[in-house]
Amino acid sequence: MARDSVCDVVVVGAGVVGAACAYYAARAGLDVVVVDRGPVAGGTTGAGEGNLLVSDKPPGPELDLALLSTRLWRQLAAEPPFARAVEYEPKGGLVVASEERGLAALNALADEQRRCGVEAEPVAADRLRDVEPGLAPGLAGGVFYRQDAQVQPALAAAYLIREARAAGARVRTGETVTALLRTPGGALRGVRTGRGELHAPAVVNAAGVWGGEVAALAGATLPVRPRRGFILVTQPLPPLVRHKVYAADYVADVASDSAALQTSAVVEGTASGPVLIGASRERVGFERGVSLPVLRRLAAAAIGLFPALATVDAIRAYLGFRPYLPDHLPAIGPDPRAPGLVHACGHEGAGVGLAAATGLLVARVLLGEPAPLDLAAFRPERFAPPGAHTRRGEDAQPAEETEASKC
């Protein structure tokens, strides 16, 4: 068996989550091969805003994950080339409420978040424009979240991939995983791609919105679905929006299960000048058509927060598909239905922010070391119907795959 077709772990997916998994695994000494059918950051990562947020997460497992990730991103940022290479900006987030009732709910959420370690400072109405001078007058108040930060997501993925390669990882883009190879006992032993077989005792499913398809190759059910979002991009601007600024109803939209269109204003400047305007959520499959009603609502909501944007040009718009799971939590950890398969997908709109923690946790799982966080809430098999666990997947595996296992 040629050296280049054997490794310790195959990471499927070169988005920011796969990149982080490769980074932490390779730095821990594992021999890693990253495979992606497209380029680095070619899927949802390249269509994201690059939010590293704790502010939008109520207390619970996702907030714990986000807090861990925030610490890890900061550690990464301590590596000298990182901040410039990925446009890392630890600028903080400002959540604003337009009415008293919304403000009360926001403050109540902030109280709970503070108890979990979130730095959340109330900002009185008359101080809002000290924090963010371009804000519309008349807002009821807000909360400032110092830990919120931003990266340019494609650059972050590329940086982590480069660093993983420096630690020995190999990266094969433009190569599609067509099958997962398994032993007669059902354990994973590698992948088959369009260019041949790659043998490894572990496979990481970091295929994002296509994570369900990779899981299905092992006969496992993982109901990852796309939730479409649009982003409007303005002309380059002088500093107009200093922080990530969003309306308090965003948190409710994130947590919503509705398939219908939801929009809430999320506005942020970028290191490169343009302001990014989100966020919309709708379940329309992989429909790529541009929706003017969505863009209209995004523009109106952004102007509602920052009136000066009314005369600013939008120069482009793009869309992406957030990989969401029914309970809005990612799938992270080993899949008991297919030993050797470790999931790292389904992060919905928080993949960039949660990537660092996910990568570290996956590396710990691969090394058999204790994780710094309880993975129970992220168990990939949590969606399977009762009693349908474990060896179910093997039956679905084509005979050919099990036979090809003698090497």
């Binding site: 002309q235 380059p236 002088p238 000048g273 005369t311 040009d313």
Partner: protein, 110 residues
Amino acid sequence: MLIRLRFGGTPRRPAAARPGTAFALSVDGERIEALPGHTIAAALWRAGIVSWRRTRGEARPRGVFCGIGVCFDCLVTVNGRPNQRACLVPARPGDAVDTRAGTGLGGDET
């Protein structure tokens, strides 16, 4: 009036147009003349000005490049409205043209 084509301010050859009366506009407060039918870019060229913007990254001078509204290199502030394509906007008497650096919106001049 028989106009002359202008090249950086130097007339060369009698040209063949009988435009209306020249009018004034200002560029960063300085007066230049334009002819009815000119775009802002044409008025600037006629006055011998080929660059009126500096880039926001490297502060390099820029002016007309594509001449048909596609490249956005000729952006200029006209009557306080930033980032207008000089090659498309008609010049009007009394127009105030501001050359600006960076994003064209102030606050980031280099």
